[in-house]
């Protein structure tokens, strides 16, 4: 790791000011992605601005019919929160299966979606839930937030404050983990709610998380696993690596989608 200066702001404003004052600074949340990257010397921020001690960024609440999750809420808290378990157990289950206990106690929802790893779990949930990403500057819909592999709509100096969504009628996540990393080799989050059916796929797309329109249409007509039987997922545009070919991922998308629908 290269040398860096650590800051512990107490408010979002203070954090934003630190970011503005140090062009090579980076926000630090759970550090579960950023710190290993720094240890491998692949990232060299001059300053680290730690968000984990800003009370306003942490916690889960229900307001005006929407669930709000603070950006610095660790996965373990998302997994165990009673309000969320009641409103959207699929999301709590997703959080419960991220990494290992160490990762779940340190890693945060905000860090995960800001990073937008193509194999991360949360982006699929945000997209399928039609969540709103609230930042220090604006509100961004999930459809506009995830813009490509490791790419988001965030500006350099923009801080995610929270995410919010209307609890769906039905929702579930089915994940097929990469045997080595246990990240999603293919994960599918399905929801059925006031905005209709949404199917979001992570781990498989070479452009990161995406929605599967054909499945959404089929499930809108009939929200059952069998509704997906006739659909053939094309391997085009899907990731290829040591662990899975595009064709295998295409098959996993269908299998995971059916399992998610069955569990929802």
């Amino acid at each position: 790791m290269y040398e860096t200066t650590y800051h512990r702001p107490a408010s979002v404003e203070e954090a934003a000011a630190l970011l503005a004052a140090n062009p090579d600074a980076k926000l630090l949340a759970g550090g579960q992605t950023l710190v290993p990257t720094m240890k491998q010397r692949l990232a060299a921020p001059s300053d680290l601005v730690d968000l984990r001690h800003i009370a306003a960024l942490r916690g889960i609440s229900s307001e005006g019919g929407r669930i709000i999750i603070g950006a610095a809420t660790p996965h373990a808290e998302v997994a165990g929160d009673a309000t969320l378990r009641a409103a959207c157990p699929g999301l709590a289950d997703l959080a419960a299966h991220i990494g290992d206990p160490h990762v779940r106690y340190m890693g945060t929802l905000g860090g995960s979606i800001a990073n937008n790893d193509p194999a991360a779990d949360y982006p699929s949930a945000m997209l399928a839930l039609g969540a709103t990403i609230h930042t220090s500057k604006r509100d961004i819909g999930a459809d506009d937030f995830f813009t490509g592999m490791f790419e988001t709509a965030l500006d350099e100096d923009e801080i995610i404050i929270a995410v919010s969504f209307a609890p769906p009628e039905r929702a579930a996540y089915a994940k097929f983990p990469n045997p080595a990393s246990l990240y999603a080799m293919t994960g599918v989050f399905v929801t059925k709610g006031s905005a209709g059916v949404r199917v979001a796929v992570t781990g498989a797309g070479s452009d990161g998380v995406f929605r599967q329109a054909e499945m959404e249409a089929a499930l809108s007509a009939d929200f059952s696993p069998a509704a997906l039987d006739g659909i053939t997922v094309s391997p085009e545009g899907l990731l290829e690596d040591l662990h899975a070919s595009a064709a295998y991922r295409a098959s996993l998308i269908k299998t995971m989608a059916r399992r998610a629908v069955a569990a929802a």
Binding site: M1, Y2, E3, Q40, R41, F176, P179, A180, S181, Y183, L242, H243, A244, S245, Y248, S251, L252, T255
Partner: protein, 781 residues
């Protein structure tokens, strides 16, 4: 702790320090003035080495030296060697290429050490290592052994034409071919044994300290055999003579073979310490471990097995290509030859065997022994063949094995080994019973109703431990003898210290070795200390690998104990005015058998050291040493049965039942033996289900982190059903065979046999990853 002797399931004495974080590993060692080494490594798999410009690095904060191969050569530091000479079948010696501890002229794999930076902190050394400018002129690369043998393939070493190190054979070629020609049925397969990264929890490390006043070196290092390290460092690498070099292997966090060898880094740290005048420490980062720890396995084999009309094996023909990587590691030549082909008779009567083995250089990390070393490769081959043959012949795999079992001992195989004892049918029967073999069809039907494909597979393994009479291995080319030493030192108050040449890095010697002493002298376990891992404390020893420490290391202790007991009995007889022949040692006393006359053990010890009243002419003291050279290998054997369920939609395999029935001979500590089996099974299941080492065509290691290299986790493993049967080993005084590697040796074929049974395919390359299984199902559909 009371008297806990042979057969007691004693919890490990050493675990208290390990699980409370009080273990002391090489990286925990700190000496005054210590500085840190970081290696500059080649990012290319094959290149001519040009100018190394270290000017900028040398000026960076904290840096005291940047050293290269040229300087190392100028100081006459030797090249690394392979310590087991194997000749080709035409009599030509093996073509060993040069391996300089820091590359000179050429780099041959990604990770090859090119220079070393020494600085005040590790971070400074790393910063400076990045600033060392190295000119590389890239050369064509070959990573696959089969490709390396093809005409026109890139040449890894000039003195190994066609990249061939040796072309070796064993057994009777003509007889085997004749047997196969006359066979009623011949099963043929091509079998790959996947390359593995050892992944010890503690990465390799070295701390070298040169003492100018004494002209003496101390090396703390992660070694399974500190004395062998010292021998090789002094005899071949010209670092220091043995009397000027102390090697200490403190707590070592796992070895699995990968810490047997001497690597460039230890040599360079010793040399750099003298050159710079400061103690130098190096600790591998995990990526360095992936890149540079000696890998395991990597065989490609064409195999044919012939059967007569009664399904008896008539012959076995094996043609193996073994990838040894870019350099010949210390025992690399022995692994695919004498540790592999000599086990090709398995548990079976095979009248004719012929094996041809070609070892090959490629632009990949060196390959050497890894838990099992050669025997897993042999077992995988045979047991995949037996299973496949049974399917082709339409007979039960259990019955095909049973009818071909060796049943009379000693049994001389056609491939050197002479099995001394065993009962393979007992293991088979015990395993089949524990696995409820007959109930499998019902379990398969039940799984099918849940949409799962259930399969069952077995493996009947034999392996050879405790390598072996020194004269025999010497005749086969070994550069060392394979005996073990012990010294039993009874202190004046009767407590005991045992200096052993074995080295514990997870095996629990501090407990089991103490149990032997407790058993023999009737002393509580906590009055016995086991001392190992320091060449200044322990007489010459050969270290721990090949499951040899029970059979060979403890036999040496037993031999030393014989001598201690003889002397103690003489003293006790003198004190009790009895006949020496009537003295027995029990419950911490020397007693006159059949009487109530006795003297406490500590008084016998005290008498030995006060020397006020000893038998005429007896020397004071109670301390005896012994060297034990085995008369044969030992032959653990057993039967493993694995049941899996495959999800046909995803290709994911779950191991739902795993039964192990092992014959390890006599058992000192059942708890530790069970733990060793569990660990071995986890590694074997890891190889068969998860672990794979992949290089791309340019020689980059694609699986250089846990993001891509899949290690077995608890959730990948079932609750093991482990049992033992016992035929005592006749070749050593304790009747022990060895248990350290069996799990890793016997389990991969059982698992792959189960998966192929589940999905109904003949061939499947390890690991049975979800992708491979899914693709096999697609290909079948």
């Amino acid at each position: 702790m009371g008297i806990q002797g042979i057969g007691a399931s004693v919890a490990r004495k050493e675990d208290r320090r390990f699980i409370t974080g009080a273990g002391r590993y090489t990286d925990d060692m700190v000496v005054p003035g210590m500085m840190h080494a970081v290696f500059v490594r080649s990012p290319h798999a094959h290149a001519t080495l040009g100018k190394i410009d270290s000017a900028e690095a040398e000026d960076m904060p904290g840096v005291i030296a940047v050293l290269t191969g040229e300087q190392l050569k100028a100081d006459e530091i030797g090249n690394l060697i392979c310590g087991w000479a194997i000749s080709s079948k035409d009599g030509a010696p093996m073509n060993m290429g040069e391996w300089s501890p820091l590359a000179v002229g050429k780099v041959r794999y990604v990770g090859d050490a090119v220079a070393v930076v020494v600085a005040e902190t590790r971070a400074q050394a790393r910063d400076a290592a990045e600033a060392v400018m190295v000119d590389y002129d890239e050369l064509p690369v070959v990573v696959d052994a089969l490709e390396a043998l093809k005409e026109g393939a890139p040449q890894v070493h000039d003195n190994a034409p066609g990249n061939l190190i040796f072309d070796w054979e064993i057994g009777e070629k003509a007889a085997t071919e004749q047997a196969l020609a006359g066979a009623a049925h011949v099963t043929k397969m091509q079998i790959r044994n996947n390359r593995l990264v050892p992944n010890a929890m503690e990465p390799r490390a070295a701390l070298a300290k040169y003492d100018r006043a004494e002209d003496h070196f101390t090396l703390w290092t992660t070694s399974q055999n500190p004395h062998v390290a010292r021998l090789v460092l002094s005899a071949f690498y010209n670092v220091a003579p043995e009397n000027k070099l102390r090697v200490i292997a403190p707590d070592v966090g796992g070895g699995f073979g990968s810490k047997i060898y001497i690597y460039p880094e230890e040599i360079v740290c010793l040399w750099a310490s003298k050159r710079t005048g400061v103690p130098v420490k190096w600790v591998a980062e995990r990526t360095e471990s992936f890149l540079t720890d000696a890998h395991g396995r990597d065989h490609l084999t064409e195999v044919e097995m012939g059967f007569d009309a009664n399904n008896r094996i008539v012959g076995l023909k094996v043609d193996t290509i073994a990838n040894l990587g870019a350099y010949m590691s210390l025992f690399s030549s022995a692994v695919p030859t004498y540790l592999y082909a000599t086990l090709l008779s398995g548990q079976y009567v095979i009248p004719a065997i012929h094996a041809n083995v070609r070892t090959v250089y490629t632009n990949t990390a060196p390959v050497d022994a890894y838990r099992g070393a050669g025997r897993p490769e042999a077992t995988y081959l045979l047991e995949r063949m037996m299973e496949t043959a049974a399917r082709e012949l339409g007979v039960s795999p259990a019955e095909l094995r049973r009818m071909n079992f060796i049943r009379e001992y000693p049994y001389q195989t056609p491939v050197i080994m002479c099995y001394d004892a065993g009962d393979y049918e007992a293991s088979l029967d015990a395993a089949m019973k524990a696995a409820d073999w007959d109930g499998f069809p019902a379990r398969r039907a039940e799984a099918e109703a849940r949409g799962k494909l259930r399969g069952i597979g077995m493996s009947c393994y034999i392996e050879a431990c405790g390598i072996a009479p020194s004269a025999a291995v010497g005749a086969l080319g070994a550069g060392v003898g394979l005996w073990e030493s012990a010294e039993v030192r009874v202190n004046a108050v009767g407590t005991v210290e045992v200096m052993t040449g074995s080295h514990s890095h997870g095996q629990g010697h501090e407990t089991t070795f103490a149990q032997l002493v407790s058993d023999r002298l009737g002393l509580p376990l906590d009055q016995v200390n086991i001392v190992h891992g320091d060449t200044d404390k322990v007489q010459m020893g050969m270290g721990t690998y090949g499951s040899r420490s029970g059979a060979v290391g403890m036999s040496a202790i037993a031999k030393a104990l014989d001598k201690v007991e003889t002397k103690a009995k003489k003293i006790a007889a003198h004190l009790l005015e009895a006949d020496e022949g009537d003295i027995v040692i029990e419950d911490g006393h020397c007693k006159v058998a059949g009487t109530d006359k006795q003297v406490p053990w500590f008084q016998v010890a005290l008498a030995a050291y006060t020397a006020h009243n000893l038998p005429d002419g007896m020397e004071p003291g109670l301390k005896e040493g012994a060297f034990y050279d085995p008369s044969n290998f030992t032959f653990p054997a057993g039967c493993y049965i694995c049941e899996v369920e495959v999800d046909p939609e995803t290709g994911k395999t779950d191991v739902v039942q795993f039964v192990a029935s092992d014959d390890f001979g006599n058992i000192i500590n059942p708890l530790i033996v069970e733990g060793q089996v569990h660990g071995g099974l986890a590694q074997g299941i890891g190889q068969a289900l998860l672990e794979d080492t992949a290089y791309d065509a340019s020689g980059q290691l694609l699986t250089a982190s846990y993001m891509d290299y899949a290690m077995p986790r608890a959730a990948d493993l079932p609750s093991f059903n482990v049992g033992t049967t016992v035929t005592p080993c006749p070749s050593n005084p304790l009747g022990i065979k060895g248990c350290g590697e069996a799990g890793a040796i016997g389990s991969p074929p059982a698992l792959i046999n189960a998966v192929t049974d589940a999905i109904g395919v003949r061939d499947l390359t390890m690991p049975a990853s979800p992708r491979r299984v899914w693709e096999a199902l697609q290909a079948k559909a």
